[in-house]
């Protein structure tokens, strides 16, 4: 399978609808200035793969909904007359077989309530995780997601902690 694109809607620093991709089959590098939104993209990928909120930076899941960048007290002006968004959506578009796409989608409200869809059809979290697992995309304490500053931490692990890396959900 292959990752085709990620669609973000009001997720962290991504106001409105933003599409990231298409990703080539090979090696893509994500670049840009400090604070630009690169790690936020990684958070979006963890989020849409169903990772629990403690894996995302910051305490409360509802905080991932876009909140304006203006100084406290200023009006929310990016979306001009529109009110602040009440939910964030991330879609992961995945080519599970040649020329056949699956769209995994997770929405969260400002109050931290998540809903899940596979190809626009609402499913339970259990079904969602099962569908991800079926295409080998279940993200446990995986070796396929490496967060900022985590590489050094791996080298510092005790033997018992290293053993945990070998316990993958296949």
């Amino acid at each position: 399978g292959r990752l085709l694109r990620i669609e973000l809607e009001n997720f962290k620093s991504y106001a409105g609808k933003v599409t990231v991709g298409p990703f080539p089959p090979g090696f893509s590098a994500v670049i840009g200035p400090n604070g630009g939104g690169k790690s936020n993209l990684m958070d979006a990928i963890s989020f849409v793969l169903g990772l629990p909120s403690r894996q995302l930076r910051g305490g409360f899941l509802g905080d991932v909904v876009y909140r304006g960048n203006l100084a406290a007290g200023e009006a929310y002006t990016f979306l001009a007359e529109e009110p602040a968004p009440q939910s964030a959506v991330v879609r992961l578009v995945y080519e599970h077989e040649p020329d056949r796409e699956t769209v995994f989608s997770r929405t969260v409200t400002v109050s931290g309530v998540s809903t899940y869809r596979v190809d626009s059809r609402a499913v339970s979290l259990e079904t969602y995780l099962r569908r991800l697992q079926a295409v080998h995309l279940s993200a446990g304490p995986q070796s396929f997601l490496v967060f900022q500053n985590q590489v050094e931490e791996i080298a510092n692990r005790s033997p018992q902690q290293l053993a945990a890396l070998f316990e993958e959900t296949s």
Partner: protein
């Protein structure tokens, strides 16, 4: 469960030295370093854990703790890539894995990702980096920035590097 663990462990253990050598080979050290994984106990693997030994070229064996920052990063990446070689995920997503690497190690890691993309399947990777020596080896660039005309929200530009042919950014400057 223990049987699956042992099976997986053995495959990773067989792969790690080759990958570590690929990440540590240099003109001054054509053989590269040595890496090894050891199970403290085959019957209770989780309880006693997995010991990881990595020896950079030209150095005697030292605890992971005594390696330098960059040496530890290379060792950790070899382990991650070995886990992937044994049981590949459809794609890898990594954030600033090159933070502690000197320019030569940056080259080795980015070339590993490039070569892996060329010959393995699946071999897709999405890697965040601040270093041009790293991202110049990518197949595509995804640029993320704050757009002042969009209230400083994050916006994205994608660039297919392969469309430009095999030009290294480092060559344009005549070796600056």
């Amino acid at each position: 469960r223990t049987r699956r663990f042992l099976e997986y462990f053995r495959t990773v253990s067989a792969a790690i030295d080759g990958i570590y050598k690929q990440l540590t080979r240099a003109p001054t050290a054509p053989l590269g370093g040595i890496a090894q994984l050891q199970l403290e106990s085959e019957r209770e693997p989780y309880r006693y854990g997995v010991k990881y030994y990595a020896m950079p070229p030209g150095k005697r064996y030292r605890d992971m703790e005594q390696l330098s920052g960059g040496e530890r990063s290379v060792a950790a990446l070899a382990l991650l890539f070995a886990l992937q070689a044994a049981r590949p995920s459809p794609f890898l997503v990594m954030d600033e894995i090159d933070a502690a690497l000197d320019p030569l190690n940056v080259q080795r890691v980015s070339r590993y990702l490039r070569e892996r993309a060329a010959d393995e399947s699946p071999a897709q990777s999405v890697v965040i980096s601040l270093k041009d020596a790293f991202y110049e080896n990518a197949n595509a660039l995804v640029g993320i920035y704050r757009d002042p005309s969009a209230g400083h929200a994050s916006r994205v530009l994608t660039l297919d590097l392969d469309a430009f042919g095999a030009v290294s950014l480092g060559d344009e400057g005549g070796g600056a």
